[in-house]
Subunit: 416 residues, 2 copies
């Protein structure tokens, strides 16, 4: 029997009131206890995962999702390390963000506080269970987690580790709850649990996001597509540009911060593009380009408008040649999904304009797009990477799961 989603929401809300007031020491103790339990119970966790894997294999799951679903000693060590890293982060709760005094003597303080209950709907990587729980606990939020049904045993075992860690630190176990009803209806119920959920972070593909758009009534922070661009400026160091483009495209093509589009300044395109195309094609990348790109690399296919707008998540890349920096900025702001865009340049003014005018959550100068990531940013882990502008943008660590309240201190002031 699975627990009704509304009951899990109710429990998490109740637990969130205690967690909001928990000391940093209590929260960190819970995360460190969970890290220790993850080590202690490795065999048990791997056994639960073996059962999920066996069932998924029997059901004919493809190699790629099967690999994502699999727990290994290395992955467990990564999860343990993330729990410890998050414990070591600064606690954002209670920070005074600002404060001032009014002419009438009122003192106004803006104080950081937890959101309350954060829900995460995610697909089959089980490390999200401990990563998301860790960031929620650190920021004083209760977590309602809903992983994929194929990872249910693995996720349940990991959630139990975190819940036991909370209990060891004297915090309520229900500060982390896992939805154990694998049905689509349960997911929709979670998206509409307005009384209990303060923020929902969906992490998944287009189907999940379409479901969110159709059904969600709770506040949502979207972890959306990454149609990431690398722009090679006229002044770029071209061998550095080649390293960055190759890394951004091929080091891990299936993730959201991989590059999907290469934009090249016309002045360097004749020298750079044939070299880049040869290197990318040697790594198995299929290129599609605009007319100017195809004049320089004849083997390249035609890029449609849809290609420029697409997150391939595969060894495919669109290529555009632009007359100048303005052209690059216009092209990128037109097609980008607002995730991450990089410029390779030696020109300070070009870097300044690109970082100011590109309307994306993360803008990178002379490095790979692949660094847009909670761990690479130093957050230990991430609850997701926001591609929206409201509330939080880019990799979301503990601070992204807080809000603030104003505290006004008076001595009898009334309004005239």
């Amino acid at each position: 029997m699975s627990t009704p989603v509304v009951e899990l929401g109710r429990r998490a809300k109740a637990a969130s009131q205690r967690l909001a007031l928990a000391s940093t020491a209590e929260k960190d103790a819970a995360l460190l206890a969970a890290a220790d339990l993850l080590v202690e119970r490795a065999a048990e966790l791997l056994a639960a995962n073996h059962r999920d894997i066996a069932e998924a294999e029997a059901a004919g799951m493809d190699a790629t999702p099967l690999d994502r679903l699999r727990l290994t000693d290395t992955r467990l060590a990564g999860m343990t390390s993330a729990l410890r890293q998050v414990a070591a982060l600064a606690d954002p709760v209670g920070d005074v963000i600002g404060g001032w005094k009014r002419p009438n003597g009122l003192r106004i303080e803006q104080v950081r506080v937890p959101l309350g209950v954060v829900a995460v709907i995610y697909e089959n990587r089980p490390n999200v269970t401990s990563d998301a729980a860790a960031i929620c606990v650190k920021s004083g939020n209760a977590a309602v987690l809903r992983g994929s049904s194929t990872a249910q045993r693995t996720n349940a075992a990991i959630a139990e580790v975190v819940r036991d860690g909370l209990a060891k630190a004297g915090l309520p176990r229900d500060a982390v709850v896992l939805v154990d009803d694998p049905s689509h209806d349960a997911a929709i119920e979670l998206m509409q649990l307005d009384d209990y959920i303060d923020c929902l972070v969906p992490r998944g593909g287009p189907e999940l996001l379409a479901g969110i758009r159709e059904h969600a009534t709770v506040p949502v922070v979207i972890d959306g597509d990454g149609n990431c661009h690398v722009y090679v400026d006229a002044s770029a160091d071209l061998s550095r540009a080649l390293d960055i483009v190759l890394n951004a495209k091929v080091q891990r093509p299936s993730v959201c911060n991989a590059a999907e589009s290469l934009v090249v300044h016309a002045d360097v395109a004749p020298e750079f593009l044939p070299r880049a195309a040869a290197a990318l094609e040697a790594d198995g990348v299929e290129l599609v380009g605009d007319d100017r790109a195809r004049q320089l690399v004849s083997a390249m296919g035609v890029a449609t408008d849809d290609d420029f707008a697409r997150e391939f998540l595969a060894l495919k890349m669109s290529v555009a040649v632009v007359p100048d920096l303005d052209g690059a900025i216009a092209h990128i702001n037109r097609y980008s999904s607002g995730h991450t865009e990089a410029i390779v340049t030696r020109d300070l003014d070009a870097a300044r304009r690109f970082t100011q005018e590109i309307d994306s959550g993360t803008v990178v100068v002379n490095a790979s797009t692949r660094f847009t990531d909670g761990e690479e940013f130093g957050f230990g882990a991430e609850i997701g990477i926001s591609t929206q502008k409201l509330h939080a943008r880019g990799p979301m660590g503990p601070r992204a799961l807080t809000t603030y309240k104003y505290v006004v201190w008076g001595d009898g002031q009334v309004r005239r």
Copy 2:
């Protein structure tokens, strides 16, 4: 002929790109020019308002909304002053909120940037037109404004003042556009203009909010109900408490930061409640209470659960007597709309617990709830008062209309 909403959105989006890069001096010059024009064109503005008023009177509008619709010299002076105050505020755009270096040498900066295009749907007070435009311009956002049809001539004249101010400062006039189609369909179109609107702030009553919940697909920050509480603690200075309760309830009962509910500690209720009831009733306030309150003030009606949850916006107040601080916090967190709650106390620990445990946007110690207001907070004006937790909470000044981007500076880093 009215301009299609989508066309206004397109123009505002185009203008927003220029405004996002405008200097503080340019934006302030636009606001000061608009303030001067508001003075210069006073006769013209009052004449436009007279036509709106005449039409509204002919249509049988009640005295209260008619008063809100009316422009006067005093109100024009207030609008002018708000424009100048907003010009004098710090410009939030470009502030570096945080920054750090990673072990691989990447430097990460978190930089405050405008949201882009902010839409505001509001009811018949014309000052919102200039207040909202000012805060949007100051924070580098374009504004799409949609006032009520009854104020259309007045709003159009005010919007033209701001647009002319923008032009005088060399900024695009379309950074502020007013929807001139008064139809319900036009409002719904605005709520769904995902390609152009980065944030919508609805300011209005339950009908508008129901429309938002049903139709809005753009990101929304809710300016919602204020079911505000005043809690009189056991240790309160009772004459100060009486001043604060009276001010919070009767000084302007029709606004969102007026108090709707009085909560009294049982230890002081026998002394305080009869005094407070007499004073409130002398000011015309109808009281409804729980059993314990009614034992102390027999003339009081019975408060239903709905009364405790209701924003009366009128001379009516619910009263609860609670056994202790825990009871007060539980009662308030149950019924509050998360807007503003005040405690009157001399006890430091009670103040600390109340400010920490009350889950509202603004928590006030020893002052009236009426101070939750952009101008009273020092923002010059406000775009609204958020009752949600995501993105912004409480009175929203220019900073609430910004987001951030991460700028990552490297020298060739790629991910291994």
